[in-house]
Every structure is written in C-alpha cells, then in structure tokens.
Symmetry: C2
C-alpha cells in the first residue's frame, strides 16, 4: 500500500537529475557540467557523493571526464561502445556461444543491408567505399589484420540503414564477434574474400537492390560463420579450464 520513501544513496538522485537535464536537452553533447566542487555545493552533498554519480554516468557513456585545467565533465556524444560493452559483459556472464552470436547476426544484418539499399545517402556510399579502400590498402601493405577495416564497412552499412536501434544492435554483435575472431589466426584468404564480398554488397546497395544486398550479406556472414564456428565454442577469448 505504501511506497518506500527515499531508498538510500544520494548519488542516485544526482544521477537522475543530470540524466533528466541531458535527455531534456538542457545539456547537449559537448556541454560542460560544473566542477565537482560546484556540483557538491549545488546538490548540498560532499564531493564524494558527486564523484560516485559521475563514475556511473561516465561508465554509462553519458558524460566524459577530462582531468587537468579546463577539464571536468562533458556531455558525451552517443556511442555504441557502452551498449556494446554492456551486452558483452552479460553474454560473457551467461556464457553465450559463438553460435548464438552468429544466429543473431544472420537474422539482423541481411535485413539491415536491404534497408540500407533503400536509404543509403551518397555520403553513406562513400563511407562504405572508403572502408573497402582502406582494407585494400592495409592488405597490400602487408597488414594481416583486416578486422578494423571490416568493422568500418559493416558499421558504415548499418549507419546507412538510418535506424539507430539497429545500428546499436549491429555494433554490439560485431564487437563481440570480432573479439572472438581476432583470437584465431587471421587467414589471408579470409581477408581477400571479405573485401570481395564487401565490394559486391556495396554494388548491390548502390543499385538499390535490397533483395540482392540481403542475399549477399547472408552468404557473406554464412561463409565466415563456417570458418569461425568451432561447434559451439564459447564467445570468449580466454578458454576456461576443461571442467568449466
């Protein structure tokens, strides 16, 4: 019947108020918050309590803290990193398998590719083109780790779908997948195949052929899934001892 009133922790109240200010638009990305000392005075609490709140806001990716003169807390730009990290943490806790991850990607990314084919702007196409070019450059200069360029392509594609929800989902899935992928030896032929696949997907998107983009993406992911899939290996870089 009655509701508990003021469950401990003053920092929660501070977190809430600052969040409201950010989401309400009073504090926009890039804006500086007052210093810890000033915040402590405004909220009528000690600096410690303010710092607790800042730590949480920072770890959630809402603010960025810089030390030194002209330092302080600044409202952060939206980024997939905290979402991705959060998801990664939970999947590790739950001991999700690579197979689970592959299944999710096969469900989401082909469809995202088809949407991107409908909505990609010229800038999006250029970004994807640039990612492919960077991958080629890295290849010819002998860099065996094509993963960063591969990530750039897929993210540019997800961006082209113009749906932030799907963008964050794709970003998060890929982060974990590539972490696992990087643990394997990156085979040379995989890099070449990836670049060729990306090029064809880009062409389909440029031609506004959503169906073909979807099919190509599905094929692309299936190929790499087969190469990585060690029959349900855990999606974690460090192997646990046998007992597990």
């Amino acid at each position: 019947m009655f509701q508990p009133v003021r469950v401990t922790r003053a920092s929660d109240g501070i977190i809430h108020q600052i969040k409201e200010s950010i989401f309400g638009g009073e504090l926009r990305p890039g804006h500086a918050l007052p210093s810890e000392k000033e915040l402590a005075e405004q909220f009528k609490v000690s600096r410690i309590t303010v710092r607790d709140a800042m730590r949480v806001l920072e770890s959630q990716g809402l603010i960025q803290i810089r030390v030194g003169a002209r330092g302080g807390a600044f409202v952060a730009r939206p980024s997939a990193a905290p979402v991705s990290e959060s998801l990664t943490n939970m999947l590790r806790l739950k001991q999700a398998t690579l197979r689970d991850l592959v299944e999710a990607r096969l469900l989401v990314e082909p469809h995202v590719a088809s949407i991107a084919a409908q909505r990609a702007t010229p800038e999006d196409l250029r970004a994807m083109e640039a990612a492919i070019a960077a991958a080629r450059g890295a290849r010819t200069s002998g860099d065996r780790y094509f993963i960063p360029s591969s990530v750039a392509f897929h993210l540019a594609l997800a961006e082209a779908a113009k749906n932030p929800v799907l963008f964050f989902a794709v970003s998060s899935f890929r982060a974990l997948f590539h972490e696992a992928l990087a643990a394997l030896l990156p085979a040379d032929d995989m890099a070449d195949r990836a670049i060729a696949d990306h090029q064809r997907i880009l062409e389909a998107i440029g031609a506004r052929d959503g169906g073909r983009a979807r099919d190509l993406m599905h094929e692309h992911l299936s190929y790499f899934a087969a190469r990585v899939d060690g029959a349900g290996k855990p999606a974690r870089t460090k192997r646990r001892p046998a007992a597990g």
Copy 2:
C-alpha cells in the same frame, strides 16, 4: 607506434582485475567479494578508489551491492537490465523515434518466435501459459495496466528461443517500447487484443508451427505499432517543449 603506458586511474585497473575474475569463472554469480576495506588493502589503494571501481561494476550490472551486516558486493546474475538501460540512454541521446524501435522489433521478434517454436521446452510453454493466465487475472481484477504481464509473455517467448544474444536484444527493445507505451492511456481493448494474440502465438509454438508463430507475431506487433505510432514521436516519455 608506442602505446601509452598507465593511463591514469587506478580504479580502472581494479575494475579490470575484478572483471577478469568474474569472466574467468573464479568468481561466480552469487559469490561475495571481500569488503571494501579488505579490497583496499589487497589492491594497496584507499577505500575511495575501491568504491569508484565498485560503482562502475555495479552500474554495469556485474555486481550487486548490499548495505548493512552481511552486506557487501556480490557477483550479479546475468540480467538484461543494464544492457537495456545502456541502449535506452543512447537512443535518447540520439533521439531515436518510436518508428525506429518498431522497425527493429518487427525485424527481430517474429523470427525469434519461429525459432522458439522449434526449441521451446515444456517449461517454456508453461511459463508463457502462466504469463497469459496472469494477464487474464489482472484483467478480471480490474487492473488496467496489462503491460507487466505482456512483458512477461514476450520475455518467456524470447527465453524459449534459447539464444541469449537474441534474448538480450528483445529485452532491450521491449523495455524502451513499453516505457513509451505506458505514457499513453492503456486502452481496455488493447489489453484484450494482446491477450488473445498471445494465446494464439502460444498455440502455434506449442504446435511447433514456426511459420505461423512468425506471422502471428508480426501481425501482433504491427497492430500495436499502429496504435502507438504517432507519426514518428520521439521514443521518450517526457515530451520536449515545442521548440525542442
């Protein structure tokens, strides 16, 4: 060429070490960490530094902190809450629209339903059945807010797909959607419709008819999307002033 060495912040090192212990399996869900005082001694830092680390770990959903005797930090069970909150934060920052959210759900959930039809265990079916029964009970007792029961059904269904990646995705999407939904007046007929839809989806899953489950889920989501979709309203409960 060279990597920066020891970027400030001792608490980051503590966070890293504790994470490794958790992901490495040395600390399992439910296990208690040493007290702040003991941790401070082990890490050779002050209690403040330890607390900073604890705040971050707690906000990321890796540990849970209880105050009082027998209190302390305990390794948390995997939960979609932190992922969902993270995603919600970023979507608000990016001013994602309900339309974006609906698109993502329409892409993911029908497919999840079809997978669930293949993999649901008897317990899963019972859980879904129980969620529907709870919704009916709440309806007859005059509770207009059927949302919690609706959430329970969809989560039980996502659980039945036996893929933690998809489960977290569905959980996160739904959290934000229902927050927006709750801001509207919950119409009585919507509750009845939802319950009826859920029942039919459950039957399709029970009959192992993945295709029908997918179609029903798509129809279900489309119906509610149409009811909620106010032509691209921001996915946030509090409306910004006109200027925005």
